[in-house]
C-alpha cells in the first residue's frame, strides 16, 4: 500500500478557504499534508481524521511560526507567503483564527499584497507597452487584470464579514 502521494493542483488565491477545506477533507480520508510547493502537495498516510490543517498568509516570521508550534501545531511548510500548519485532532479543534476581527485583518493583508502585485504589473506592463519591441507588456497587463479580479473577490469576502461584525463579534 502506498504511504505517500503527490497531488498537483492550482488554486486561485481568493479560494484559499476552499484549499484549506480540501486539505482537511484529505486528512479526514487518511492523507495528511506532509510538504507543499507551488501547485504541488505531498501527502503521507495517516489515520483518517488524525489531523486537521490550517493555512494563512503571513509575512516570513520565525517568531510567529514558533508561537504557533508552541500551541501544539506542527509547521508543514510555506509557499511564498502562505504558511501551512497541521495539528492532531486529539488536541482539540484547530483554527488559525477565532474571531471576525482577525479574519478581516487576514483578508486585509491578502488585499494589500494583491494590490502591490497588481500595481507593479501595471507599471511594468505600461512601461513595456511603450518602450520594447516585440511588445510583451500585455502579459503584465493581463496579470494586473487577473490580480484586480482576485482583489474583487477578497473585497467581497471582507464586506460579508464586516456586515456580520456590525451585529456581533
Amino acid at each position: 500500500m502506498n504511504t505517500h502521494k503527490t497531488v498537483h493542483r492550482l488554486v486561485w488565491v481568493w479560494n484559499f478557504d476552499k484549499e484549506e477545506r480540501w486539505l482537511n477533507e484529505m486528512a479526514e480520508e487518511g492523507w495528511v499534508l506532509e510538504s507543499v510547493g507551488f501547485g504541488t502537495y505531498h501527502f503521507a498516510a495517516c489515520e483518517p481524521g488524525e489531523y486537521s490543517i490550517g493555512m494563512e498568509m503571513h509575512a516570513c516570521d520565525h517568531d510567529y511560526i514558533d508561537f504557533v508550534k508552541d500551541t501544539g501545531a506542527e509547521y508543514v511548510g510555506r509557499v511564498h507567503r502562505w504558511i501551512y500548519f497541521r495539528k492532531k485532532t486529539i488536541q482539540g479543534n484547530f483554527n488559525i483564527f477565532s474571531d471576525i476581527d482577525s479574519r478581516i485583518n487576514h483578508l486585509d493583508n491578502i488585499g494589500k499584497m494583491l494590490f502591490t502585485l497588481g500595481m507593479a504589473n501595471l507599471c511594468i506592463g505600461l512601461a513595456n507597452s511603450f518602450h520594447t519591441t516585440p511588445n510583451i507588456g500585455w502579459i503584465n497587463l493581463l496579470i494586473c487584470a487577473l490580480v484586480m479580479y482576485a482583489l474583487g473577490h477578497i473585497h467581497e469576502k471582507k464586506e460579508i464579514l464586516k456586515r456580520d461584525r456590525l451585529l456581533h463579534e
Binding site: 494563512e56 508552541d70 479543534n93 484547530f94 477565532s98 474571531d99 476581527d101 482577525s102 487576514h106 463579534e169
Partner: protein
C-alpha cells in the same frame, strides 16, 4: 484613553488571563478554563492581539529567560484600568438586561 470603549471578547479574556503572567499557550488554556470551554483562542488571532495590546501598552512582554524561547506577558497598570472600566460597563449591561427582562427570567 477612551472611557466607553467596548472590548472584544478576545481582548477581554487575554487581559483577564494576564492578571498573572502567562505565555501564549497559557493564555489559551486560561481563557478556555475561565469561559468553561466556550472560547478557544486560535493561535493566529492571539498572536495578532498580543502584538496590538503590547503596542497599546495594556500588556508588556517579560524579559525572556535564557534557554526558553517562550515569551511571557503580563498586564500593565494601564491594562488593569481598562479591564476595570470594562467590568463596570459589563455590570451595567447585565443589570439593564435583568431589569428589563425580569418577567422573562
Amino acid at each position: 484613553m477612551q472611557e466607553n470603549i467596548a472590548l472584544t471578547e478576545t481582548t477581554y479574556y487575554i487581559l483577564l488571563s494576564l492578571y498573572t503572567p502567562q505565555h501564549g499557550y497559557g493564555i489559551m488554556q486560561r481563557t478556555e478554563e475561565l469561559s468553561d470551554g466556550r472560547i478557544r483562542l486560535a493561535a493566529g488571532t492571539l498572536y495578532g492581539a498580543l502584538n496590538t495590546l503590547c503596542d497599546k501598552k495594556w500588556i508588556t512582554p517579560l524579559p525572556v529567560e535564557t534557554g526558553s524561547r517562550k515569551k511571557e506577558y503580563k498586564l500593565t497598570q494601564q491594562g488593569l484600568t481598562v479591564l476595570k472600566h470594562e467590568l463596570k460597563r459589563l455590570q451595567q449591561l447585565v443589570m439593564n438586561g435583568e431589569t428589563v427582562l425580569k418577567e422573562e427570567l
